[in-house]
Point group: C2
Chain length 248, copies 2
């Protein structure tokens, strides 16, 4: 791993991405596991080049992990507590990864400190949170130099991540729920065509509660956001559902 | 003015505050004019101390300009374009404020550059936008060392501000409109007690369109956010409106 150089990046600023994908009534988040010894999961993160817009940086980080461009992306919150880079996390990281520790050979009794080239890991970072909504079937998760592995995890069964990363996911989900009706962005989680039943299942999964079928359908259609396509031929013609497509 | 020292603040990070106040069917923003020569208006801004949460920093900046604590505050957007600190602004600033310019006496033909102690003015800053909703009647606008004056301006008649500050106000207003129904935060713009007519006028002002009286009243009351108090005694008892208070 190459720590960011002082010159290249805006210092003390990071980007954390919550990449949501949906499949079979389950909302998932793409979470890499850091290549360090120990079970350190962390959201896909990165830094901002001095000549790069922050939105561009977020797109770059997303593309590195998903392999796809043109992902639906929303900035949702800045994590800016002074003490968010917890000492507990650092202590455990050092304990399990002794190669990160610098010791002064003159004084073996001093506190272990992290080696110069890794000290950005313990600095204060103000992190801009972005969430992405992707069609999970189009993503082939990609490891970067930083990762041991990268997997989809159900929102309800996320691993314990470093620092405040679990809270970041909570906040992203809260924002998604809060503005979903105005932004009509949930459709980005579906394949290009879908049935009304697919939409209802998706909404029920995101909000974690059931909706009455008739009201739901009426509400969705009243938004004038969907284009109705042909019916799916199932053999039982009268039961065949319509396919829809989102009109961007 | 004292430029921020390298050690004290998180570098390249600023906070810009859009302070909304409401009075007589007009939505206003509190805008200081910089003490430089020339008409440079800029949103109330500041920096983040190394040991300070970003929300604390925003509260400090707000208190400096409004004199009040416990202001309703929402983070709404990070302005992070690489080129947002425009050269045009800098050129005009230097033109009107020659004392900011450093000239190399060895070479009088070189481009004018800004003096070292002011060079943070031309650096790239990533700015976190906060909007505040205040009861305008409680605010006594305060000038800081940076300001020549500070005034309320109608959102519809804002002065041309530096950099992207006018766009920042637009974005704040857009966010306020988008989440007002879920956050029920508009009441922070009113005095402690108000009539239903006051609420309707406020909403009409924020959304810049009329609402039908009956529907509006029904919608507001269905939110269960208001506590009904006694009637205002006006002499014509049957026309006296109820007073309401927001239940936080």
């Amino acid at each position: 791993m190459h720590p960011p150089s002082e010159q290249d990046y805006v210092q003390q600023l990071s980007i954390d991405c919550v990449i949501f994908g949906y499949k079979d009534r389950q909302l998932n988040v793409l979470v890499p596991k850091l290549y360090f010894q120990g079970d350190f999961w962390a959201l896909p993160s990165g830094f901002v080049y001095q000549d790069e817009d922050i939105d561009e940086a977020a797109r770059r980080i997303l593309q590195d992990r998903t392999g796809i461009k043109d992902v639906y992306l929303e900035q949702f919150q800045v994590m800016g507590k002074a003490g968010r880079n917890s000492r507990a996390f650092l202590d455990r990281l050092i304990e399990l990864n002794p190669e990160l520790v610098a010791r002064n050979p003159e004084n073996l009794r001093e506190e272990p400190t992290i080696r110069r080239e890794y000290d950005w890991f313990i600095r204060r970072f103000i992190s801009i949170g972005y969430y992405a909504l992707v069609d999970l079937t189009k993503v082939i998760p990609q490891k970067t130099d930083l990762d041991q592995s990268i997997e989809w995890y159900a929102v309800k069964h996320l691993p314990q991540m470093i620092m405040d990363h679990n809270e970041i996911v909570e906040k992203a989900l809260e924002t998604l729920r809060l503005t979903l009706d105005q932004k009509l962005n949930a459709f980005n989680l579906l394949p290009e065509t879908f049935t009304m039943k697919d939409v209802q299942e998706l909404y029920e999964t995101i909000f974690d509660k059931p909706f009455a079928r008739n009201n739901f359908q009426k509400k969705i259609l009243s938004m004038n956001a969907l284009e109705r396509l042909e019916k799916i031929y199932t053999g039982a013609a009268n039961k065949a559902p319509y396919l829809y497509r989102f009109q961007k």
